[in-house]
């Protein structure tokens, strides 16, 4: 990717930085189209604001992913939920049994 003729001359100003940044973010997010990935690879070396933008976005993305504490669901919430689901299954089963009993009574 490092073309020796190009590498020395980097653009100091990006004419279309907002569009560039959307593309750079899509690349970092793994949601860029093949065309965008291609464009990114062939042009990122040429533009200083875009290189800096890429590095900054990358560090923020990593910071969000790795530095912010991930909260885990408290065990008592899990237990309570299981009880509630179990109860609703039980009631459902009970209703089915009840209907069958009523049917039996009315059939006889």
């Amino acid at each position: 990717m490092s073309n020796p003729q190009k590498v020395e001359v980097k653009k100091q100003h990006c004419e279309n930085h907002q569009k560039c940044m959307e593309m750079i973010q899509a690349v970092l997010d793994g949601s860029a189209s093949p065309d965008e990935i291609e464009h990114f690879k062939s042009h990122i070396d040429e533009c200083l604001p875009c290189i800096e933008g890429y590095e900054l976005e990358k560090s923020i993305k990593e910071g969000l992913k790795n530095k912010i504490e991930r909260k885990c669901c408290p065990q008592k919430t899990v237990d309570l939920l299981k009880v509630k689901i179990g109860v609703s299954l039980f009631i459902l089963g009970f209703v089915v049994v009840e209907i069958k009993i009523i049917q039996l009574i009315f059939q006889s």
Binding site: H13, C14, H17, Q18, M21, E22, Q25, A26, D29, G30, S31, P49, E52, G53, E55, L56, E57, K58, S59, I60, K61, G63, L64, K65, K67, I68, E69, R70, K71, C72, C73, P74, T77, V78, L80, L81, K84, I85, S88, L89, L92, G93
Partner: protein, 201 residues
């Protein structure tokens, strides 16, 4: 509410045993991610517990509209996000809709100044920050902007999945993320300034 009903139509499909199995095997493994999402939205442990339980009970009630083998995590996140908007957002201390629109308008008008305003936030400053500072900057964002960052950067959803979770087109996901990140950079920049990170370099 209406949104939920439209997607979650009830067709008796799974037997009771299957419902139990799907709930255990497909839904329960995501409970920590779901709790973390609830916590990042509400910033309150009690609210997170309530929101999580409401979501899982709703998921169980509408289990027949879940297609086995499809993306359970995205399906659950969508229910949680809708529950949050319908039931929790009203009572929370979030900035109102007006504030949100204001932020978006103000931001749009200063779009041209984007590069100039980001130069003084350095990669090294961000790398030096601790989790609490990054979390506080994230918490400072209006909820719609915070949500896209949580889904993308913390949970790693693709734009396509986010579009489904949020019921918005992929183009809107992209532009909202872009705006959210610029706002986040503003917050991080003010932290970097107060902490004197810039001077350290």
């Amino acid at each position: 509410m209406e949104e939920d009903e439209e997607v979650l139509d009830i067709q008796p499909r799974y037997s009771k045993e299957e419902q139990y199995r799907i709930f255990d095997k497909e839904f329960m493994p995501h409970i920590d991610s779901m709790y973390n999402f609830a916590f990042r939205l509400t910033n309150d442990e009690d609210d997170s517990n309530d929101l999580l339980q409401d979501t899982y009970l709703k998921a169980f009630r509408f289990i027949n509209s879940f297609q086995e083998g499809t993306n359970a995590k995205a399906w659950l996140f969508r229910i949680l996000k809708n529950s949050f908007i319908n039931d929790y957002r009203k009572k929370s201390k979030e900035p109102s809709k007006v504030d949100y629109q204001e932020v978006e308008t103000v931001y749009n008008s200063s779009e041209d100044a984007e590069y100039e305003s980001t130069v003084d936030l350095r990669t090294e400053s961000v790398q030096d920050m601790i989790g609490d500072e990054v979390a506080m900057a994230l918490n400072g964002l209006p909820v719609d902007f915070r949500t896209v960052i949580i889904l993308c950067d913390i949970e790693g959803f693709t734009y396509e999945e986010m579009a489904k979770i949020l019921d918005i087109p992929i183009g809107t996901v992209r532009s909202r993320l872009h705006r959210a990140r610029n706002l986040l950079k503003d917050k991080l920049r003010s932290y970097a300034k107060t902490m004197g990170y810039k001077e350290l370099r």
